[in-house]
Amino acid sequence: MAGAVPTYKLEFPYKRSLGPIVGAFLTGLRDRQVLGIRSAAGRVLVPPLEFDPETGEENLEWTRVGEAGVVRGFSWVEEPLPKHPLDRPFAWVLVQLDGADTNLVHVLDADSRAAVEIGMRVRIRWASETRGHMSDIACFEPEAG
């Protein structure tokens, strides 16, 4: 049977209350800073958690970490889907930012699969306008030099 296959769209606008920890983290991103929390054992967690994962303690100390870090793991996406953050091939990466002890999941804008490796240095590319959202980090890019 010939004829176009119609496309349908379902959507609902979702508004999430962030609370003091995720809220402060996203406030940091809006101000182009990456914040983490320091656990009782001295580990710096980025993104931050609301409780110390080892002791369950609250009210942990905030600390600022670097805008660059090391790729600890990745998954290459050769054919991005419409909803992916980049419209060209890219990598999902686990980035350990300088000063952090944990990994942040984000996107790496790299030229090709061959340009990505575990241990490489990457740096944040900020969105042109930040608004207090994870996408304020537009993506990571290989660190120059």
Binding site: G3, Y14, L26
Partner: protein, 177 residues
């Protein structure tokens, strides 16, 4: 939206886009509808008449997908149930005024069609048993929807009362949900 206030909410559009290829039965129904005829399928075993047709009888588990099963259904029937809708103005709402939708038992069909828009009637006159007929869209406005397997609303603008006595409750009681 740079500012100095702490960020306390996050907006996110949750959305899903999907393609749906209409079945041949739905496309056939939409074509006939586009040409001004409502069709149904009669089950060869139990005789129930389904409109819009699905291509099978789910009770007898037999196919009804050939021409010989096709029957024409009147564009006239009985309101078996209705709802008066006061549209809340949420995001994306297109309705502005209060209106009525109804389940209608078309003459010649064994089941009702739901969510049918009523028009040309005072809302306080809408009642169960009321006789209605289709007000068709002009033909040029129906054309594009046939291949999509679109439903009744793609060709019928609304249903309006006709000057006939109400259908007695006993005749449609089993169709009231």
């Amino acid at each position: 939206m740079a500012g100095s206030e702490p960020v306390s909410f996050m907006q996110q559009m949750v959305s899903l886009e999907y393609k749906l290829r209409a079945s041949p039965v739905a496309v056939d129904f939409a074509r006939r509808l586009c040409a001004g005829t409502i069709t149904g399928h009669a089950c060869p075993e139990c005789g129930l008449v389904y409109t819009p047709p699905s291509g099978f009888c789910s009770i007898c588990v037999v196919p009804t997908n050939t021409r010989e099963h096709e029957v024409e259904i009147a564009d006239r029937g009985t309101v078996t149930a209705f709802t008066i809708v006061n549209p809340i103005q949420y995001r994306g709402q297109k309705e502005r005024e209060v209106y009525a939708v109804a389940s209608i038992l078309l003459d010649g069909a064994s089941g009702t069609i739901g969510q049918q828009r009523l028009g040309d009637v005072d809302l306080d006159r809408v009642r169960m048993g009321m006789r209605v007929e289709a007000v068709w869209l002009p033909e040029e406005k129906r054309k594009d929807s046939a291949a999509m397997g679109a439903g009744l609303a793609s060709a019928i603008h609304h249903w309006r009362p006709v000057d006939e006595p109400d259908t007695p409750l006993e005749e449609f009681a089993e169709h009231i949900i």
